[in-house]
Amino acid sequence: MATTLPKVDVVVVGLGWTGGIIAAECAKAGLKVIGLERGRKRGTEDYQKIHDEYRYAVRYELMQDLSKETITIRNNRKMPALPMRQLSSFLLGDGLGGSGTHWNGHTWRFYPYDFQIKTMTDEKYGPNKLSSDYLLQDWGVTYDELEPYFYKYDQTAGISGEDKNPFWGKRAQDFPTPPMKRTPILKKFEGATKSLGYSPFMLPSANLSEAYTNPDGEVITACQYCGFCERFGCEYGAKTSPEITVIPTAIKTGNFEARFHANVMEVIKSGNKVTGVRYLDTQSGEEFIQEAEVVVLASYVMNNAKLLMVSNIGEQYDPETGKGTLGKNYCYQILPGATGYFEEQMNTFMGAGALGMSIDDYNADNFDHSDLDFIHGGSISITQTGYRPIETNPIQQGTPTWGAEFKKNSIYNYTRTLSIGAQGASMPHKENYLSLDSKYKDVYGLPLLQMTYNFTDQDRALHKYITEISTNIMKEMGAKTIEGKVAITDYDIVGYQTTHNTGGTIMGANPENSVVNPFLQHWDAENLFVVGAGNFPHNGGYNPTGTVAALAYKSAEGIIKYSKSGGSLV
């Protein structure tokens, strides 16, 4: 029997970026907030001995424990879905800060084009640019409407950057801190892209170029370029993360309480409202019901979708009939690019997660697609994150993968190889979706989330096109040998790609084609909010978190308003 706990104003499920932002904003507004996090409490003091590639990057110390819960995967509806038994393709977060603890810090705002992609594509290329198998739709919110929330996140996180990209949406204010250092490796890219006529700029970064105090009074220190950023926590508190910004802000108000080892299993619905959530204290084994005026799901793409499905809230998407919205428009990302082998040695082992330069000449609709068989594109970047020796063994095609020749080549190339990579946008397809698995269960007895996903022709064409451009840039950079990324075929769960999963709980202007409204308020339950990259109706040519955070700020504003006046926010 579950124990029912006294009602609070807001219960937030998950304490990553989205949960942290909602908690801080609501607590500042005077609402009593409880945050339930399945993982443990952790902070900067836990990252003092973190320069350990094996434990943290290879064995995934900070990430989700799949023995408790995973997803099942298949490429299409005809295949039996099987569990993702080991982490690999994407790395799910766990514990205070979620993936915001071990992210890189690339911080982007999606393009004005992204938010109105359907309208703008139809206007420019006619209604049949993509076949009807692609479920393109506008987001129900525009870039201009989101601009103040984007800036709010820039300020909270102290983002380091320069407003020199001629293509991106207009910024009302410049970045709070200057860009990171231009290293010789970045300068190579800068020179090459300039001479090709492109417009390079420093990648907006949450690894701060200088110490900064945010409007809430939280201090973020300056990045030391230690080279252990992605997949690691920052020992300096120099990589903006929820546990050094929004969570302490929430705590300071006195209105927020975090509960750890609290795994939420169900959202309880009654009529057109929810009453709270049921969770398990994974240490004591006790079950609780936390009642709340407002429930916020901030437990990442996968778990947000799963919680709605197991709680029977909303209509499951059916690819056969096209009906239902829950689980629809699941998208991933594709990673075109090129690798160059150089003669000179470079300091490839130094770096920071978001130390990079980019061009956007081939992102969004910044180039003409009239004669191309795809839409959108991707940001093309060089990043100097710090090559780590276990996982970086660059060898040219045709070199044996083990033995004397492998050893020699991988050691030689370790300090002589650079890569250019792109975040390729991903368009929703009617056959790509999330649902519940009928066979496999988690340790709590709930069905696993099932992913049906494959790359589409649109993905393959975009990948090929951007790879060619990356190859040209690498040539201009002076590499001795260049290898473009191998063409993509089927999506494969093995091998890290990105943790930029999107869709499943998409936002939109009406309940026919979306799960939540533009305040991320559920269409079927007015006091339930679902926040995260799951809200994206398609995936853009950037990393998601800047956009996710802006949506979270907008949603927080909606929650505060709702708690005063109730009803639908639209």
Partner: protein
């Protein structure tokens, strides 16, 4: 929550770190910066004797007999052989690294989804075996022995290098029957574990004397590169292990 330092500029932060925020970041930053400037000499005991002693004196945590361990050792050495660049897997302690890992979380797949039903599945669906890594290694090593006696009427460890390579290649190409797992998968596991042992921090028992890092010119655990990140010149930095902190 941890107390945060006040809003220092980067310069101040570096200058005053040891005094003002020593508790927050520990001695690490200072050590790192001193190391960068002074490049103090490696204090680890240098090669030779200690290698040999460590190589024979460690005992097993997972393996039960010398024969299995020797097969593993020889196989890893073929994957990452000693050459004019420096030591191979055996001298780096890779077999001991793997022995310890097999006895720990890694060997028993404690962070992985191991519930049935099990099915083979498509390649794109990844690892689907009911076997733990520990059982895969045990079976794989037995199979290496078996294949050696089938092909050459000898134990694996008594073969010539080329003969070992022939067998390992057969595993890599999935030509050897195994139960509950493919030989190609076992080979991939073995190869990956060998590289992990060659390049993981020496505190795990491999990468002895940080020689893996030295060959690759990777400086290991340094606290900061802020002072040199803009240098054009390649930086040769004496590596540091976490165990030396």
């Amino acid at each position: 929550m941890t107390e945060k330092p006040k809003n220092y500029s980067r310069r101040d932060f570096l200058k005053t770190t040891g005094i003002a925020t020593g508790a927050l970041i520990g001695g690490g930053l200072i050590g790192g910066l001193v190391g960068l400037n002074a490049n103090k000499t490696d204090q680890e005991v240098s090669e030779g004797t200690i290698n040999h002693e460590m190589a024979t004196n460690q005992g097993f945590q997972f393996f039960q007999n010398q024969r299995e361990f020797d097969v593993l050792s020889n196989a890893t050495e073929r994957i990452f052989p000693k050459d004019d660049l420096g030591p191979g897997a055996i001298d780096l302690g890779v077999p001991y690294f793997i022995d310890r890992q097999l006895a720990a979380q890694y060997g028993s797949n404690t962070k992985e989804y191991m519930h049935g039903p099990f099915a083979v599945g498509a390649k794109t669906q990844g690892y689907q075996s009911r076997l733990t890594r520990a059982s895969i290694f045990r079976q794989g090593i037995a199979q290496l022995e078996e294949e050696a006696s089938k092909r050459f009427e000898k134990g694996f460890s008594s073969l010539e290098a080329e003969q070992m390579d022939e067998i390992l290649t057969a595993f890599q190409n999935d030509e050897v029957p195994m139960t509950g797992v493919t030989s190609a998968f076992f080979f991939r596991l073995l190869r990956t574990a060998t590289l992990e042992g060659a390049y993981a921090d020496p505190m795990y028992g491999g990468n002895r004397n940080m020689d893996g890092w030295k060959m690759k010119e990777f400086p290991g655990h340094q606290m900061a590169y802020i002072n040199v990140i803009e240098e054009e010149k390649f930086q040769k930095i004496e590596p540091k292990s976490l165990s030396g902190m």
